[in-house]
Amino acid sequence: MTLLLLLAILDGLAYAALVFMVAVGLTLVFGVLRVLNIAHGSFFAIGAYVAATLGTAAAATAAAPALALPVLLLAAVLVGGALGPVVEKLLLSRIYVKDHVLQLLVTFALFMVLEDVQKLIWGVQPIFQDAAVKALGPVEVGDIVYTRYQLFLLPGVAAVTLIGLMWFLRRTLTGRVIVAVTHDREAATAMGIDAQRVYLLTFTFGTMLAALGGALASPTTSLVPGIGVNMIVLSFAVVATAGLGQIEGAALTALLIGLGRSVAVYFAPEFEVVIPYIIMVVVLLVRPYGIFGSPELRRV
């Protein structure tokens, strides 16, 4: 029984790491812009596809195995750096003054467009580019064979990202500006902060994180049309459970979901799909503003 539990924890960690990587960008974006970006899943998918394309190109070169991992980061930066500003400037900034619902639907419309764009660019045949996983090789834990990628790299990158983000948001000026805008947009603007620039920066950064999540997922799985769709729902669950813009909350939620899911696979497999929702409902029952959220200042 303890062995099974240990195995469940190890499996859960890798999955939690991936969920965190994808959801943290959305949490940030939502915290600052108050827009739930449905197209976040599309950025995830595009990041994955671009990583696979770059990976295939890199695999053909002489420096092959060493390039496998950096290529993933490159893909994320490219996708985030290209798509983030474009979407923010062309679409989102036009509707900031409008209703929240409209902003939400702009991202829904964008998601629909990007689903077909993915299909038109990369086709419908499953794409599998696992050079990065192969480069790191397998590792044995007792009797069970894992891949180093899932056991060390994914949780490692997630941990580094978490710590990096925490440091960035607490210790750097830009980071603290972002936190200020998250807490109270009006007060921050009154202090002289250029909210528009903060939105652009945050959205681009959030997109990069989504693409990085996709790039990290891509060596482990087949890329087919529709992989972004489920990630969207999962990310939403994390964002709502974590609390507004709370990246520590996102980390904790991702951990709960990852561990919950793998424990379910071992002991109650049929429940595995609904674990994220159960966690969300239970957390919100106890803490209505999310794990680390606090009530927003209410206007009278």
Binding site: L3, L18, F128, Y146, S222, V265, E270
Partner: protein
């Protein structure tokens, strides 16, 4: 009365749209200028991995058929629709295709849910329908349809044949695990497998029943569990991207070394996963087809088709393309027989559908028959993977072509009940295996 803008705009739109929405005149029994084929398939979402090859096969074959005069001298034109939006969309489209586009025959669908919804509508619309890919055995078991036939088998033989193969190849296994996608096909195929297995070899211990969500992208936890449980056999009726992922992740973690895998739908993944799939895996093809089919591979028909398909789409054909081919060849044979029986005149819809029942026809890889209840009967090709130099992906060796009499439940019975009547004799009655030829 104030002319509202909406009314004015709508009137303008309606005038423009009138040609596209009014019904096309199609007089039955007069030879049409073209034979219109409606095809429903998945063009988006994860199932498009089958849907698009099916559509591509249709495009290619229709071109070839038209080049040699079409069907009964009438050229064929296809109208393709995406079944991804769902059943309510598909049913509206069937009506539109039948009434507005004047479609003569409908080829539906990949999703079993779609087939189950379309068949009753086809009866109402008197629309000849060929079920070209969906796997559910329930269609003709639970109802009879005059206007629907199926030019392929169904879940029952597709699952029983690999089981019989396993029982012959590795009769001493005692533990088994199943990893199926969590939807109707995954559940049905497991029910058929388990019923048959418990009947022929009672006492097999099922150590795990895992049903990952449809569209899952990660099987790490399932694979860890399977490594810990060490079943003798792992059975998975998965397909598409999920099967690719499962195979790759299992290979990376050396699960193939511990268990014998039975993958009834893996023929469609062979080219994509390449030699990651190790030798010794039992693979099915959902029917009597494969581009290197043991008895048909040297025929001009198959060679030409494979070559043409590969040249145009850069891929080897997989079972959805063969299913589409069976539908088109069956349709052609049906029309030709009905025309002959009608003294050279174009048949009515009823004549066509009645002719298709009991029809036996040749297709790319062999001959198949359509039973009186509309269900198709085809042999099942099962083999075991082998690595050779001539192809960058595994080929099938020790292939057995299970005849329908052995693996298909008779008319009027339910598949999940019939499998419980199977005995070990069924295993022994299989024909001899055919070895791979270079």
């Amino acid at each position: 009365m104030r002319l509202t803008r909406r009314a004015a705009l709508s009137a303008a739109a309606a005038t423009l749209a009138v040609p596209t929405i009014l019904p096309r005149n199609a007089i039955a029994q007069q030879r049409p200028s073209e034979l219109r084929l409606g095809i429903s398939t998945f063009l988006s979402g994860p199932s498009s991995v089958f849907g698009v090859p099916g559509r591509n096969a249709a495009d290619l074959l229709i071109e070839q058929l038209n080049a040699s005069g079409g069907i009964g001298g009438v050229p064929i034109r296809s109208v393709v629709i995406d079944e991804a939006p769902g059943v309510d969309f598909l049913l509206g489209e069937c009506r539109r295709l039948a009434q507005n586009e004047g479609v003569d025959v409908m080829l539906a669908s990949i999703s079993s849910g779609s087939c189950l919804a379309v068949a009753p509508l086809a009866e109402q619309l008197r629309l000849p329908t060929i079920l070209w890919d969906c796997g559910t055995q329930r269609i003709f078991e639970e109802n009879s349809f005059r206007y629907a036939v199926r030019t392929q088998a169904n879940a029952v033989p597709e699952i029983v044949a690999p089981l019989l193969y396993l029982l012959r190849a590795r009769p001493e296994f005692s533990t088994l695990a199943v990893v199926n996608q969590d939807y109707a096909w995954g559940r049905d195929s497991w029910a058929i497998w388990k019923g048959a297995m418990d009947a022929i070899k009672p006492g097999v211990r099922v150590v795990a029943e895992l049903f990952p969500r449809f569209g899952a992208t990660d099987f790490s936890t399932e694979i860890t569990r399977l490594q810990a449980l060490r079943p003798d056999v792992i059975f998975s009726a998965s397909w598409g991207g999920e099967l690719d992922t499962f195979i790759r992740q299992a290979a990376e973690r050396r699960l193939f070394e511990r268990s014998t895998f039975v993958l009834p739908l893996a023929e469609s993944s062979l080219e994509r996963v390449g030699k990651t799939l190790p030798p010794g895996v039992i693979v099915g093809a959902r029917g009597d087809h494969w581009f290197l089919h043991p008895t048909a591979r040297d025929t001009e028909l198959l060679k030409n088709f494979t070559e043409a398909y590969r040249r145009r789409f850069n891929l080897y054909p997989i079972y959805p393309t063969f299913h589409m081919a069976q539908a088109l060849y069956g349709l052609k044979a049906g029309y030709e027989k009905a025309i002959a029986a009608n003294g050279g005149r174009w048949p009515s819809r009823e004549q066509l559908m009645d002719t298709m029942r009991g029809l036996e026809f040749r297709h790319l890889t062999g001959t198949m028959k359509i039973r009186d209840d509309g269900q198709g009967l085809e042999p099942m090709l099962v083999g075991v993977t082998r690595h050779v130099d001539s192809y960058p992906f595994p080929v099938l060796d020790q292939m057995i072509l299970y005849p329908p009499e052995l693996v298909m439940n008779p008319t009027g019975t339910k598949g999940v009940e019939w499998v419980r009547l199977l005995t070990p004799a069924a295993v022994r009655r299989a024909p001899a295996p055919i070895a791979w030829r270079a």
